[in-house]
Symmetry: C2
Subunit: 412 residues, 2 copies
């Protein structure tokens, strides 16, 4: 495989491609590094990708897998990229596309990262899948484990909304509800991952592989735009991993000459109620000061984001930014996307859409720009957010009642 | 276009391809009839399809559209066909595939039928989309109208679950809640469709076009199996339209020589609490006696199915059948599919999976058969059905508490 090592993002120390996630020398995070062969025939390399499966595995050459595309498991990725002309018109900008990751098997981008982490975990001989999650990741791990016939354990805060627990337990996973908050869950998972041989915690000891899965969003966008980068990406930021790996995907392919263009302006989107990265960006700081989350965008509610500093750095160097929006703006963002595209997103996508709207209103988006917003999860998972945002007309079952209610008898 | 007329299923009277749905002579249902040119070069015809878009529009030549594939709207179809080896193993049968229509934009097969009805409605100059629905169809119509910038009206029973109303109203449709049951809603919609020029009720005056959308499931299955028919299809029956149109899709392509094989054995699946078609099939009757629905499978709860007699006839002539399962079996069916495939389906898919299980247990499925089950909608839409079907372990955030709860300290 082209992946050659895990490398510390800070001190560059290298480790073998196993279940490591933190540098033993400096405690920095580990990342997969590659030694790709130069692409001599771009057209042939593109054809090879296009001839692959309709899933993230068409990009197996660019992922840390020794054995090539897995033949089993729930296929993630290859989600639609939809031109959103009505949304662009509403915002007064030229060209907007929606990368609709609600189309994944469990309806969030987490299926991508779980796919890659799981495939590598199986190559390394792990037998049990696990994760610390507050929702989307739990769904994805439980579903992937079921599809593969693997045992799984999903660790969640005990006060998680019942709907997220139902949509996880259904797959026959072991649901471990923890008296405590997400930090407590994470801490316990780190401890368990140290004690249990054969257990792959996708977002703990498998984190470097897990994170690579997010690159496939960039690959797909570029492929779907005809092997070109867009001018700007708007993507949510939770830990900062998704945001930075999308950029890594574009940069890898630009370096290989597989696509044309340059690194898009990278705009991160956060909720005001949990915006450590936006705050650091605004204040001109390099590091993020942890916050206590208080927002309806629970899937983005990471108060101490592991990749926060890298997200700030990326926003600066790509001439993008990091913007925060209020809970009311998030609700309005969900409605705006639904009304103009027919895509119903969860609160995280409301954050992303609201940030796009804010950038448009502030005149940040150039008149000739092609913008892609990354919609990471489905509205059916956070239905509460749209309650009381529209009116329902209740009438008797008669034509007269209908005419009275809508007062359109004479008009049409 | 190859479509040449609307034809009465009973007396064969023909009508132009406009907004008609019932025969003026005999009150029979109208259906689109085609005059396809013979396919002289099968390989070329297949390549033409494969080169089309990743949506139902790759089959535009076989749909009642004058203007070819629409370039706008929410793309439906081209959902995964997944080989379910763990499910097959659990049931002791050889080969099962899952047609996963939860992957559609609003996560049910209704996106297909709405796509086709809407495209034809726009060709005919209609400006407003409408429907009578109890859930999935409402989501699909509201979303499609939003994506196209069309005005829409969605008529629902006032006592519909709030989650289905939220997942509809978010798109900015006019939600019309009717004091009454689904029959009352339907009756009012029929009346309104007669009074409102320019209003396309997808499942009333557009019904012949709407129904054609279901054929694309057969086209996709055949294409995904390498241009072959499977041996058996298990599909839910509500009105009977989906069930009979899947067969129509296979038959059209078999007749054109586009695919090999023969009409699959067609097995219909109903809930015991609303099983007029299964009852007619069992009793050897040609017509279905209406029932009052009482089942958790609400999306199948049509007590007086319009295409019931055609569904019974199809089950007989294809050597299939129609089988009913209880609400408990439906819940177990949802769990079985989730645990073995990672696909979380709504109650209708639980019905389908439970019927597959019953057929397997009864020895109905031959040892060399390739079976496809059609999973029409998403589990996130009927979360209540899986409550209390699994255990959640709640513990303190310590390693000792974890070990105590799972008693695996010594084992691994």
């Amino acid at each position: 495989m082209a992946a050659e090592a895990l490398k510390c993002r800070e001190c560059k120390t290298e480790y073998p491609l196993e279940a490591h996630y933190v540098c033993e020398r400096c405690f920095g995070p580990l990342e997969v590094s590659y030694a790709h062969k130069p692409v001599t025939d771009v057209a042939e390399a593109r054809r090879r990708i296009q001839a692959g499966p309709q899933s993230v595995w068409r990009y197996a050459d660019f992922l840390p897998l020794a054995g090539g595309p897995p033949q089993v498991g729930l296929p993630a990725g290859c989600t639609p990229l939809i031109k959103a002309d009505l949304l662009a018109e509403r915002l007064g900008i030229k060209e907007v596309w929606v990368k609709n990751d609600t189309a994944n098997p469990t309806h969030s981008f987490k299926d991508r990262v779980v796919s890659v982490a799981t495939a590598r975990a199986r190559e390394l001989g792990f037998e049990v899948l696990a994760c610390a999650s507050t929702g989307n990741l739990a769904n994805a791990v439980a579903a992937q484990a079921a599809a593969l016939g693997m045992e799984s354990y999903v660790f969640i805060p005990a006060n998680l909304e019942e709907q997220k627990i139902l949509a996880t337990g259904v797959y026959g996973t072991n649901v471990v509800a923890i008296h405590g908050n997400y930090d407590d869950v994470n801490r316990l998972c780190t401890e368990v991952s140290g004690e249990r041989e054969g257990w792959a915690f996708v977002n703990v000891n498998m984190r470097p592989y897990y994170a690579e899965g997010s690159k496939t969003i960039a690959y797909e966008i570029a492929e779907q735009l005809g092997w070109e980068t867009p001018d700007r990406i708007v993507s949510p930021i939770a830990s900062g991993s998704l945001f930075t790996k999308i950029a890594k995907g574009f940069e890898e392919w630009l370096e290989l000459g597989l696509i044309t263009g340059s690194l898009p302006k990278m705009n991160g989107a956060q909720a005001t109620g949990c915006s450590p990265v936006a705050q650091a960006y605004e204040a001109g700081h390099d590091v993020c000061r942890p916050v206590k989350p208080d927002t309806i965008a629970k899937s983005l509610a990471i108060g101490n984001p592991a990749d926060g500093p890298y997200a700030v750095e990326l926003a600066r160097r790509s001439d993008g930014g990091v913007t925060a929006v209020t809970d009311d703006e998030i609700r309005a963002g969900i409605r705006l996307l639904a009304e103009t595209t027919g895509i119903f997103t969860e609160t995280a996508g409301g954050v992303t859409t609201a940030v796009l709207q804010k950038l448009a209103e502030q005149g940040e988006i150039g008149s000739d720009e092609r913008v892609v917003i990354v919609i990471t999860g489905d509205g059916l998972k956070t239905l509460d957010a749209v309650r009381d945002t529209f009116e329902t007309h209740t009438i008797d079952p008669t034509f007269d009642a209908f005419e009275d209610a809508f007062a359109i008898g004479a008009a049409k």
